[in-house]
Amino acid sequence: MRDFDTMVKQAKASWDSLLTQKKPVIYAGAASCGRAAGVLPVIEKLKELSKKIPLDIIEVGCIGPCYLEPIIGIQKKDAPIILYSNVQPIQIEEIVENYILKGDPQPEKAIGTLGNGTIEGIPSFWDHPMIKDQVRVVLKNCGIINPSNIDHYLAMDGYQGLKKALSMKPEGVIDEILQSGLRGRGGAGFPTGLKWKFTRAEKEPEKYIICNADEGDPGAFMNRSLIEGDPHAVLEGMIIGAYAIGAKLGYVYCRAEYPLAIKRFEKAISEMRERGILGKDILGSKFSFDIEIKKGAGAFVCGEETALIASVMGDRGMPRQKPPFPSQQGVWDKPTAINNVETLGTVPIIMRNGKDWYSQYGTKQSKGTKTFSLVGKVKRTGLIEVPLGTSLRKVIFDIGGGIAEDKVFKAIQVGGPSGGTIPSAFIDEPLDYEELTKLGAIMGSGGIVVIDEDTCVVDLAKYFLKFIEAESCGKCVPCRIGNKQLLDLLEKIASGRGTIDDFELLEELAHTISEGSLCGLGKTAPNPVITTLTYFRDEYRAHVLEKICPAKVCKDLFYYQVDPETCIGCQICKRRCPVNAITGEKNEPHIINHEICIKCDVCSMNCPAKAIRKIDKVKVIELSN
């Protein structure tokens, strides 16, 4: 272990020298979200600029508030890092020059400071309204360290948890995790320690551990962010798990839609091998373990344990009957522990700080913190981490800043296609496994999509069913055909052809699908329909009885109309309409021909006078009669 201690010492020294060096350092948030916001051209500009002004440029992961991206941090000697938000390529030169050459920190462009010291006019980043109510445990290093530099992770006490685990008996490690109360972060919330205990207890000596990085829920990106920002934490957790259960080989199963995450894993694994943290006799112990990466090929069902195992073995990713559970018979028919990315990312911290430290957070049955992706119609979108049991109100209004454009909060959709829609009435309920299940949703992996008055719940349920219909593997008839029927029924309702009897049919069918399907995908597939039908029956009734879509989303139930009072006759809509459905002379109110209109919304988007309205079809028909 002396080698390891020297390695850590050197890593800490190099981290300290980075923070205190004379040459300015630029930290660019370059996770997938930062890239989508356009950070790469900014980095290009910075590289050009570094020929003129000496600069070190470091790509870091996502620090959380994605809506402020691209986020660029600038560190000058003897001053904290200043984070600038929404930085565009044309601004970056000016920002850097103003601060580094002229000494102007430009508080109006900054969102906060990181590190020791203060700068007048700029608050600490940790006091930012989106950040101050969060507890960052798993996300501690994300956006702070360079994910492609193992020394940065070591400087943040990385691999200390592993060192401690290797000094304990495997049973002791399992006990520590079990008593910390850590539950699977992938959805079902099964106690992690128990899973490991079962896998270890199997007599077969050849065992495996799999990291499930097949984050398939649309609207969720917590795992992607964690891998892209701090891959070593996940891999450290995996080695600890392998040691606990007695595995010699582990697989990381990562979805192909996350190319950057795969790249980060690959780099981290090669660094670990170089340093003796992976491979033979890890950190000088007698424990040997290696990791292989398996890329998913685009199948949502592969998030399910048994389907994932089939896919790892190069086959079609179809689930099978349980038992035998993967802990008994998993990959290559050997005992296998499958853990989610976030679960594994939490393990090292528990080992390092102890079970009691970890279980101080959370509720009685749901211990610790949980990451959520907060997206949809909320002001501050991004990645957050809060103790389990935090109320929805805190998450949406304090952290998320409330509903975008100050519209009316309608509901949240949590847990992806397996989850449910929880209406605004339950805003003071705590976010934990039990409570969400009671409300008909599930924690899932932690994707929260906020919806407002402009979202139609029938359309939302239809959307999820479409997803499920495409992703059902086809093995179980109720899932394969039943979900198609559910979708047809919803399409019938959305198009105004539904009847009141359809509700009963929906419920009956949902029940059959749930009862008659083998895996989690089928069992939970009707959840979005059941929850919306329970909590928003009035909205369904409006579609069926009045033929009205209150949110004006279902295209068969409304027309676009020009308000003649507001129309200024500018002819922009007439020119932009892709199907020439609009007529009208200059300076005269225009008219939209309903027969031709395809409801593409182009006229409404381009109207400078906001004169285009959506009018219920039934009202238009009534008036014309």
């Binding site: 829920d217 649309p218 199948a299 182009v602």
Partner: protein, 181 residues
């Protein structure tokens, strides 16, 4: 995607000696082990941009597994393509966040502009249009990706300008190639 779709381009694809060499390298990398079939198919697609019929038939022979089995696995996963895609692949994210923020109208707009449906390729072979479920950039919804370039906070109004840029850069490349000849 059905197996029949492979017929479309099979005539054009020739199993040249360079192609055979590349396939050989890919098989070697995976130890000629059919348990690594998905990885082999991924590497092949990376190389040829799709899975030509002749390539599948060749590797099934080499790996000593039936073509049925290879197709069985390949058609299960949405990643694998059996017809040659366009030069630029336009993907629209249909994740939940993108959906509630209007990705459908974005997809509709692209379909109108390119005059193709999702899953098709333009006649000039310049663009393929695809919809995907969640690219994990939900905070910047709606999201569109062309090849590797990601566009966040997209609107239908921004589409034309972006497509024009790709058309132009393609023309430039073509001109350069002419000159080199």
């Amino acid at each position: 995607m059905t197996v029949n779709d492979t017929k479309v381009n099979s005539i054009e694809f020739k199993l040249s000696s360079t192609a055979l060499k590349t396939i050989e390298q890919i098989l070697e990398k995976s130890n000629r082990d059919s348990r690594n079939l998905i990885q082999i198919l991924q590497d092949l697609q990376e190389e040829f941009h799709y899975l030509p019929e002749k390539v599948i038939s060749h590797i099934s022979h080499e790996l000593q597994i039936s073509e049925h089995h290879v197709y069985g696995v390949a058609t299960f996963y949405s990643q694998f393509k059996f017809i040659e895609p366009g030069e630029n692949i336009v993907r629209v994210c249909m994740g939940t966040a993108c959906h509630v923020l209007g990705s459908q109208s974005l997809l509709d707009k692209l379909a109108r502009e390119l005059k193709i449906e999702s899953g098709e390729t333009t006649k000039d072979g310049l663009f393929s249009l695809e919809s995907v479920y969640c690219l994990g950039c939900c905070a910047l919804a709606p999201v569109m990706v062309i090849n590797d370039e990601v566009f966040g906070n997209m609107t239908a109004a921004k589409v034309n300008k972006i497509l024009r840029r790709y058309r132009r850069s393609n023309k430039k490349n073509a001109n350069n190639m002419e000159r080199e000849k």
